[in-house]
Structure formats: C-alpha cells, structure tokens
Symmetry: C2
Subunit: 218 residues, 2 copies
DNA sequence: TTAATTTGTTAGACTTATCTAACTTTATAT
DNA sequence: ATATAAAGTTAGATAAGTCTAACAAATTAA
C-alpha cells in the first residue's frame, strides 16, 4: 500500500501527465515543492513498483497502473469534496483543503458510502469529473468563457482553477456552477467581458476570470 | 504539530493512565505493538515536548498538556464514530476502524461541523463520552451488568469493550444502547445471566458478556 | 558549433520511526 | 539475602523521505 506521500506523488504525476504526456523531474519537484534529487529518488521507487517508466536522462511516463492508482486517490478527493459541500454544507472554497487529507483514508467503504449518499455524482463541487473505480472519467469539452464572442449565452460548468481566492471572488459575484451568462460586450483593450446573469446586467469580469470559467453553449 | 504516530502514542498513554496513574514502558510497547526501545525513544521525545514526565527507571506520567492533546484526538475519534453511525448509517461495529483514520485529520472545523450536525452529542455509538475541546468529559458511574442481582431492571448505557466481534454478537442478540433489561436468573455455577428485554424472555448471556455491559439502574 | 542554460544524477548527510542484541537496574520469590 | 525474573536502557542497524553541493548530460541560444 502506498503511503500518503507516495499517493501525493502519483496524483502529481497524473496531473502533470494530463498537461504533457512526458513528465520532467523539474516539473514534479516544482509541483510538490521538493528538490530534484528528492523527486528523483521517489521516481526510482515508483519505477520499481511499476507506476512509472523512466530511464536515465529520459522523461518520465506514468503507466496504466499509475493512472489507476491516481484515479483512486482523485475519486476519494472529489467524492469527499462533494460530500463536504452537499451533505456537510461547507462552501466550495473550503472543501479542497479538507479533501487533501480525506483522500488518503484507506477504508474504501467510506467513499462508497459517500458516493451512495450523494446519488453517484459525476462531478465535484468545482465541476471536475469524478472517476469511477476503474479510473475512467468523462472529459467533456467545455470552452473557456474567454474564447467566446459577444452575444453568446452559456452555462458555467466547471473551473479551470479552484483556488480559495478565486472561489471567494466568485462568491462575491454570486457566480456558481450552472449560472447562465450572456456576453454583452468584450473590451478589446484588456480582454475583459461585460456580462449579465441572474437578471443583473453590466457585470465586468476580467480576462483572468473569464479564462478560468469553463462553459457550455446554451 | 504531532504526527499521526505521536498522536497514537499520546492516545495510548491516556488510556493506560486511566487504568493506572503510573505507566510502564512495557505496557506502552504492548499497547502499540512496538518494542520497548522504540517506546522508550518516543517517550524521550514526548518528554522534551512536555507531554509526559519521566526519569530513568521511573514510571511515566502524562502531563496536563498530554491529557489535553489526547482528549483532542479522542474527541475527533468519537465524533467521527457518531457521525459515521448516525449520518452515514454505518453499523456500530464498523465505525471504529474508520475513526482510527479520521481522528488524525488536522482540520478542526471538520469535527466542529460534525458536532453541529449531530447536535452536540455527549457519547459515541458505544456509549463512551465525547470530551469537549478542553479535554473535559463526563465519567458517569455505570455498573457492570455482572455486578447486579436478580430482579434488577437496567438500561444499557455503554460498553466496556467494543471489539467488532463483541458488537456483532450484540447485533445478533438485538441488544443496543438503551435496551431495557430485566435480570431473571443468575446461574451461580458459571456466572451466566438469564434476562428479558424487548418482550423476549429467557435469553442467556454469558459472564464475559455481562462483564462488558455497562448499565444504569432504572 | 561552441557557449550558456536547463535538466538530471551522484554523493553524503539528516530526521523520524522502527528493530535486535546485549546489558543494567529494579522488583519478586524463595 | 540471594537468585531469578521483569522492566528499562544502550548501542548499532535499517528504511523512508528529505536536503545541499557538486557534477554530468541534454537542450537552447548565440
Ligand atoms: Mn480539490
Ligand atoms: Mn475540486
Ligand atoms: Mn473507537
Ligand atoms: Mn467508541
């Protein structure tokens, strides 16, 4: 059984692999805030366990087994977030921190029961998909709000980034998942959008905000 | 911040101290299934942190600070058990194992929220008291069923031992907390009790069972 | 195509938690 | 009071996870 620490490496490897099939030691060290020799040592252990393939001076690749193990941790994380939000009434800006701890709990039936109580949800409170136990999950092709033209009517479906700061900003603006937004104006100069939602019009969202909102066209 | 492992030592020290003010290294090692040198090393560290007092060849005593830290872990454990049982519908024989993991979660507000959702319970699903954050908890003076005479009418309030095996035995007998029992007969030869409850009479409970049931006289 | 920069590796050290074997001190029993 | 047993300590070793300093390889830029 992998330790908490190993699980965090596996999860990081999975995230990095989603951005780029080939993973660099530097990126891994950066992601986990450890030195390159530390990351290198761990890669040797994970290689011995069949979780990555790696050869001297060559980029690292995660194996099918590695993906399976990563999905298991991510499933625990996202089910926990959903349970904390829906059942325990935590805000979506609070759940990630707690889920970072809960995801390492070994007893599977805790998460199976969460899943059951929640009615087998397919996404977490930030719109990210919850993998099933075999590691499969939907990857719907949402667009960034910042990619869409004036006049588009969209529904917010997920976030590209879910830092507490960003979530608190969205709270302040009363923007939630499934909020229906109409794009009224795009300011060419700075990429900011003027939008309307919930019957309020003229709300200005900066470029970096629109870049983080994943939406579906209505 | 204490690691999981240290927290387990602190909890063990607290349990041992409840049986016997003075704690021996052997008992500590036995409790945690580690060797005496291992326990000894940890005691040196805990002494440096002010959690125990201990001098060479003298028995170990837990400090007020040690008790406070133990109570914090026990509170997390017992609130978790109660949450798992009441809200997540796990059986009382299932909750301990999961709570052994949950008790090490750092984020206090998770447990505060459990407490809130549960309506500030004073005991766990096995009748053990839940300490408050300052480490105070009720220690009601229940009697063992095995100490009471024929004719007594009692209510089961807690268990002296909560192994999954014992709890499954109680499930089979439909005995729960708050079950009202009447003692019909005591067999002198083997100390077994014949009792009635829930309208069923003539149920025989062995000595070891009666020894584990903590009851209040009606 | 050489030089500079980035990336990866090695070597050596530290911390925490664990062990066994051997020894010392304290307690118990004859 | 002495011998035996139990409890506690020391010494030395191991494994996991981390670091820094120094060096080697690969990539990128000039
Ligand atoms: Mn998260
Ligand atoms: Mn999330
Ligand atoms: Mn328990
Ligand atoms: Mn309990």
């Amino acid at each position: 059984m992998a330790s908490n620490i190993k699980e965090n490496y596996i999860k990081a490897l999975f995230y990095l692999h989603q951005k780029n099939e080939e993973i660099s030691l530097s990126a891994l060290g950066e992601e986990l805030q450890v030195s390159k020799p530390t990351a290198n040592d761990m890669i040797k252990k994970l290689k011995a366990e069949g979780i990555v393939v790696s050869e001297k001076y060559k980029p690292i690749r995660i194996t099918a087994e590695g993906k399976r193990q990563a999905a298991s941790v991510i499933r625990k994380h996202r089910l926990s977030e959903m349970f904390l939000a829906q059942i325990m009434k935590f805000g979506w800006e609070e759940v990630h921190e707690i889920a970072e701890e809960l995801e390492h709990i070994k007893t599977e039936k805790l998460f199976d029961r969460m899943d059951d109580i929640l009615g087998f949800p397919t996404t977490d409170p930030h719109g990210s998909p919850i993998p099933d136990k075999d590691g499969n999950f939907n990857k719907p092709d949402y667009k960034r709000l910042s990619q869409l033209p004036v006049g588009s009517v969209v529904i917010i479906k997920a976030l590209r980034e879910s830092s507490a700061d960003f979530l608190q900003y969205l709270n302040k603006k009363s923007i939630k998942l499934n909020t229906k937004i109409t794009i009224e104006h795009i300011e060419r100069f700075d990429g900011s959008y003027t939008v309307s939602y919930d019957g309020i019009s003229g709300v200005v969202l900066g470029k970096s905000v629109c870049d983080r909102l994943l939406v579906k066209l209505v």
